[in-house]
């Protein structure tokens, strides 16, 4: 049994204990507390655009269904029959019509979860069934918020509200959506699904780790630059040069790009510029955006080139690329990464084509860049079992006590965002734990 002080002791500021990555006990507590108390990404509204459309996923280790109810609202329900526990939906998406029907005993439910009918219902007369938990139907999660098309849920019925949890970090979602001349995004096809034998937090930390690209990705990005030079620097550059080569940018580039942190574990790289800043213009896009927003506002939107925005606990978005990566924990040493892309409604197809290219070049199980990342995570997961040292060092550019309740912008190679995540980790792990 771990107490609040046990959890607090795992993160000291400059260091974090290896148990947070390796311990099955800690993992169980994360599922019970952290993933219940935080606002966790579920899906995009365009995955359930019509009434009766549903989509199955997980919040932490909890199977849930995102579904569009007959009133047009999106509900998030636990994916189990209140009778015997059978999962109501097991396909990844579909349309259930006006109601869900359990395939085991045909209990049926409205798309907001309410019990609709049970065959041979008289068998429950005078049994007190109507007072039971099961009579309520499928259980909804504690709270749901659809923010500009992105659906988040909090499993716990009480807790921090959405706006307080995310605060000004929502500006990254805003920028991604504002890039659409129509002001909305649409899901574009199924996500890449990439299995990692490592803890989910390693992936989240890596999103703002700016000291690894030129090292771990030298084999892909460095080789791309070398081949291009051997070819005599042909223009226009091959797409791989535009997408992969910026990973080889020098330390100074990453130092100057800056890192911003927000309270509750959110933060982003690429405050001033980023690896996405120098993409070639797509004909017709700027004009479409100007028509929608006016030229001044269009420039303001496109001048933001945020690299990776981490929404604590477990997603990352790339505004300029319209990509979202969901780091779904499956165990202390197992994580499923789903990488989604979105269409900017009203923008030329060529932009979506580049987005799809980025997704497969960088984040596919077949990606040369992904291969070296996964290699590093899995080596770390194995290396952490070593008893030679119990702590992981995250003190780059930490010169004293830090106040994570304030928004800050710092040198782009700081590990402050990782510390910010652990500060939030302790907060949301312990908020519902009893004292010793």
């Amino acid at each position: 049994m771990r107490t609040v002080s046990d959890i607090t002791a795992l993160y000291t500021g400059p260091q974090v204990h290896r148990d947070v990555y390796t311990s099955p006990d800690i993992y169980r507590l994360e599922m019970e507390h952290l993933f219940a108390n935080a606002w966790v990404f579920v899906g995009h509204e365009s995955q359930t655009s019509k009434k009766g459309d549903y989509f199955t996923t997980q919040i932490g280790d909890q199977p849930v269904i995102q579904v569009r109810h007959s009133d047009g609202e999106i509900y998030v329900l636990f994916n189990r029959c209140p009778h015997k526990g059978t999962k109501i939906a097991i396909d990844r998406d579909g349309n259930t019509g006006k109601f869900f029907r359990c395939p085991y005993h045909a209990w049926s439910f409205k798309t907001n979860g309410c019990l609709l009918a049970i065959p041979l219902k008289k068998g429950y007369e005078e049994t007190g069934f109507s007072e039971s938990e099961s009579a309520k139907g499928m259980t909804p999660v504690g709270a749901v918020k659809n923010y500009r098309g992105f659906v988040f849920a909090r499993l716990a019925s009480d807790g921090i509200d959405f706006d307080e949890f995310f605060g000004d970090s929502l500006s990254s979602i805003d920028n991604m959506v504002d890039r659409s001349p129509a002001g909305r995004l649409e899901i574009a096809g199924p996500p890449l699904r990439y299995m990692h034998k490592c803890n989910w937090k390693m992936l989240v930390e890596n999103q703002t780790d700016t000291c690894h690209p030129m090292v771990a990705h030298e084999s892909s990005a460095g080789t791309a630059v070398k081949i291009w030079k051997e070819m005599g620097n042909p223009e226009p550059r091959p797409p791989a040069m535009e997408i992969i080569a910026p990973f080889m940018s020098p330390y100074e580039f990453f130092e100057k790009m800056g890192i911003r942190t927000w309270p509750n574990g959110h933060g982003h790289t690429g405050v001033h510029h980023s690896i996405h800043s120098d993409y070639s213009a797509v004909p017709g896009y700027f004009e479409a955006l100007c028509e929608a927003h006016g030229e001044e506002r269009a420039r303001e939107i496109l001048d933001e080139n945020r690299h990776n925005t981490v929404y604590f606990p477990n997603i990352m978005i790339k505004g300029p690329i319209q990509q979202l990566r969901n780091f779904i924990p499956l165990g202390p040493n197992k994580t499923l990464v789903e990488s989604y892309i979105y269409r900017l409604v009203g923008a030329p197809d060529q932009l979506l084509s580049r987005t799809a290219m980025y997704n497969r070049m960088i984040n596919a199980p077949t990606s040369m860049v992904g291969h070296d990342d996964l290699e590093m995570y899995e080596r770390a997961q194995e290396g952490l079992m070593s008893n030679g040292m119990e702590w992981v060092n995250i003190q780059r550019l930490r010169t004293g006590e830090e106040d994570f309740s304030e928004e800050t912008v710092e040198n782009g190679t700081t590990e402050r965002q990782m510390r910010n995540q652990f500060d939030a980790w302790v907060k949301f792990m312990t908020v519902s734990m009893e004292e010793a």
């Binding site: 096809g189 299995m195 034998k197 080789t223 791989a240 497969r360 199980p365 077949t366």
Partner: protein, 157 residues
């Protein structure tokens, strides 16, 4: 000069052998310069551009992939992976004097350290006959369980 069915089948078997034996320079030389290697992400996917694929690689990317495999700092290939194809006799779906389309079922095994995995695949080759020699114009590889979550797939089926 037209090629025979037997030459087409030998060509496909030889390609698989090059990949298994890591003879990548010879393998790259089979390709036409504007060819694409496509591995869809979705079952029966029709569009390589506006939805994600596992691979949709031009010759620059294929060259990069091959050169990276032998790089001094290619950490995910220390130690190296190995692969093995077992291919069924190809169907020849189209055959004219200068264009051949084939459909080949195969089992592809890739291994590294203690890990080994098996993929069931269908490869569709679009071959061109250039100066009497077969070349790969395009290649599409569909994985039977393309919608499953995979770990690293590092070599080329």
């Amino acid at each position: 000069m037209a090629v025979s069915k037997e030459q087409v089948i030998d060509f496909l078997y030889e390609e698989a052998r090059m990949l298994d034996e890591g003879r990548y320079d010879e393998w790259l030389a089979l390709w036409l310069e504007d060819g694409h290697y496509w591995m869809p992400l979705d079952y029966k996917q029709t569009d390589p551009h506006l939805v994600t694929s596992l691979l949709y690689e031009d010759m620059f990317m294929l060259r990069l992939r091959v050169e990276r495999l032998n790089g001094a700092r290619t950490f995910s290939q220390k130690p190296k992976s190995r692969c093995h194809h077992v291919i069924q006799r190809p169907f020849i779906d189209e055959m004219t004097d200068n264009r051949v389309v084939t459909n080949t079922s195969m089992h592809y095994v890739e291994t590294r350290l203690d890990e080994q995995f098996l993929l069931a695949l269908t490869a569709v080759h679009e071959l061109a006959v250039v100066d009497g020699v077969l070349r790969i114009a395009n290649k599409r590889v569909d994985i039977l369980n393309c919608d499953a979550a995979f770990g690293n797939i590092q070599l080329l089926p």
